[in-house]
Amino acid sequence: MFERYHVPLAPMPGRVSPVPKFVIVRADNCMNCGKCERACIYGVHKRSEQDLRKMADPVNQLCKNCFRCIEECPQRALAMMPGPEFRALGKGIWTSQRILTIWGEAETGKIPVFGAGYRGMFAGPGFDGMWTDMSEIVRPTRDGIHGREYISTSADLGRKPSLLEFGEDGRLGTKMPPLMELPIPMLLDVTRVRPQSEQLLRGFALATKRLNTMIMAPSSAMTESLVSDLDGRFVPVFPEDVDADSIDLPKDVSMIELHFSPSWKSNLKTIKSRNPKVIVSFRVTANRDVEKNVLDLVRGKAEVAHVLYDEEGSEDEKGEPRHAKDSLRKIHKALVAKSLRDEITIIAGGGIAAAEHVPKSIICGADAVALEQALVIALECRNCVTCSLGSCPANLSSAPAEWVEGRVTNMVGAWRDQMLELLGAMGLREVRRLRGEFGRAIFYEDVERESFAEVRGGAVDD
């Protein structure tokens, strides 16, 4: 019987004290009149439980920056400032707001009201320079889009032959390559994620199982019991210099990852000759040759190209590297021009820092995305650098697996819900249709060119 895909969500509170976005300072001249308590609808201000006659310290993380308490304080005793801890969060595209948003999603599994124009930027570098039509209206529709209609978020992994050949007897002559359907276009990839511990890995594995997606991890990282527990959802990633002959795959593996190395063709042949049912994916570091390399992969009958961007979503280039949104579009266009697009699945990894980055990557031509840093951020990581020094404000090394599972599941669930909203708003019934639909988005540079090319005499940079 058909079972509708559903991500079960349950609140999973954080383990360390929350980082308040706004900090309310109560000056000494507060006269405990309680006006703030009655003014605040979020419950930031309360009378102290020990002594009701005094005001307790403000519960800063509940503050929504509405300024009502500050307005109403008859003593002008309240002041607000951006939380210093909040401002210190994250770096680069992992802005403090994005980190806080992911924390919220991981805790509640609910969709935050946040996106371009909705307290987010209207333009900016990378994915910020791109609007999907109505995409950033990531507010939930009144009763939730999936209450009304069925929208598929499935993604296919594998090679789809462009044409089928039939034998004289009318039978299918084409040897059908293996194909897998994931219920969401999101995979977990912990290969490049820094903090590693058995509990974390187990937590990620449990989340993978709950989400019914796949997890990529170094081939040696997972214990046997975990691998068998994952039941084919484990994608072993083999090191770059691996000798394909020595690879002995466990029985239930359905996909593996190799590196795009000079010997990739022979490696592919070796693996395929022994395990024809296994999907072989190649990790391609994105650089200025990435279109050519992916074309090579298609022609060599590779089934999946996993394009790797860095943490910021950029290519590995000195000078001015392209961002994934441009790079992916180039790859997609190159494949379409050669009529080869469906012969390979493209997974984009790196720089996926918000729910909206998933559909945006897909619009730019990816079939699916691999979540990396976001997984750890969901665990209250602050994207600081102290883990290399052996200390962690989120105390990740002690995170129990069940908690990790819950947090990651919540975040992915929230991201999927946002994708559903977006697809519903666009009138699409499945996410596969979104792939490469550049017209579904407005790119800042296009708008700028269209608006100002005439004005500036065509001097706008292309």
Binding site: I41, L52, R76, D143
Partner: protein, 666 residues
Amino acid sequence: MHIDEVGAGRAIYPGDAPSTPPPKEFSAKEEPSGSALADSLCKLKVPGLRVISAPGERLLYSRDQSEIPRFLKEIMFRSVPDLVAQPTTVEGVAAVLKFARSKGVTAIPRGSGSSPFGGSVPVAGGLVVDMSKMDKIVEVDDTGGTVTVQAGARWADIDQSIEKFGLALNTTPSSKFSTVGGWLATGGMGLNSFSRGHVSASVLSVDIVTPDGATKTLSPGEPGFQAVFGSEGQLGVVVSAKISVRKKEERSRPHLLFFDGTKSALDFAAALTSSEVRPAHIVYESPAKFSYINMLLQKDYFRAADAIIVNIEEAESEKALDGFLKTTPFTEEKEFLARYMWNERYFPMKVRRFGPGLLGSEVVVGRDKLLGAVTGASDLCRMFGLEPLFEVHFLEDGKGLLLCYYMTDQGNTIKYTMDAFKSMLITSRLLDLGAKPYSIGVWNFPFSDAEDRARLEALRKAKSSMDPTGVMNSGKYFTLSGRFGGLAGLAFRPRLMRPVLKAMVVLSPLTSRLMGYAYDFARRRLSPKDRTDLLRTADECAMCGACVSVCPAYMVVRDERVTARGKLLTAKAMARGEKISKEHAQRTFLCMRCKACEQVCQSKLDLISAYEILEEELEALCGKDAAEIEKFIRYTENTPEYDDLIKRGLVLGAPKHGMGGERADV
């Protein structure tokens, strides 16, 4: 789907509003009265009247601002009232007075109890009429320049509420938190008396309820009008007054000048009063005041010398003063120093903490006798080993309101008692030097014969017409009652006591030596061994009652034991080993922690810390009724009166956080 606006389910946010609605009423648990008199007054069911019969609370009314050792007072007088009535309406006052008359009980009107002379303190029990809850500002007529207020209104509140109309009071007492009724009935001289005269000049009419329950409206010129001023509750209870006010001055610029010697300073002041400068007010301060201020400020900002402070409000007189100063060899001090001292005019009790304790004498002296009075009293003080502070507020006719006070230690009963006695000797000496007593009350009774004969006669006449049965504040002013069939009062009789005092002054070298021995004994044997921080704070309290007027808890509970003054008295009572009833203890916890009391406290006491200590002690003793506290807080913070208090900034002069005057509604 349609969602009902009301009752759509639980609130979205867990913190949204208290889950239970605030209580609609609150009344703190009362102690059982057990007095037939109280019960019969309660039976009258006078609307808005609170009858106070609990011993703990009645005790509060047995004293005023002065700190008389209880044992001494109790030997001579029965100062605890039998009953206290706290009316809120004129009808209530009338009913209470009629009740007092029918029962033959003395009625003693009381304002905020901030005079030190005992005018509002019973001498032989009786019924105290506490007017502090009739504190409405009834009407402000900004075109006519008048304000109508109830007698319990405090001068500070009136000043604040007329300020927004661009008006100001003509004169104010230096204890600005005293009540209208209180000041009219006692002194009437104060700040700006130099330019604006006695308060009676600013009163257009006064309503007074007489013991027969009738309300009399008296206007200037009518018989009995003048007698009301300084009547000390002999005629009836003042319930409201219509007061003329002036346009608020556009500028106020105090000037401070130092002199070498008292004579030089007083001569300067005399010359100034008769010049064309026409200042708003002139004050003389003696050197000791500045020594104490320097100690308070922890830096020698001021010269310890005789000083004159002149406040100028008109541009013309400013010019005139400039010209006047040029004709003299004196130069004025920097403006900020002058402003500081001028600001101190409302806080004369600040220096009390150096005792802790302050005692003194207050008299009115003619201009030509001023120097003699100051030097004479000063010499006497020094002979007694006291360091006197003198303050003279010049009055319009060149007379001066002379305040002579000195530090004492009220923790040491014997020393304190002797110091208190010395103040009588000083007053006696000042009267010999030609002064008139400023107020009679209880403690100045021996000097009542020095009062102006004509004034006394007028008051006597007014009393016989308004209070023929002698219900009002009887046993005081004309005679003095007390225990032992009036024996104590007899001792205080002017004819008996004055000669004794005079003799003691004459023999002051001997007197002071005898007292010196007792002093030594007191210091060695009886000084308090360990005075806790709490008791020290209690001793430093000036009992001026400023905190009462701003206390939101007092507004709700109407029991002074919830105010700072009341709490510190509770602390003192505990230290004396008195038993504190459970209900009494619970009152102490009824506090909003708004710190308004700290704001207005002129002694700048660290009150909140004191409360914490006191509450801890009381909690250990009697426990704490958390449910009552919660109900009290939830009720109070939801009353509109409390909102009004808060809108006013709760306290006169509360910081507005440097955000300028954008609060137009204040």
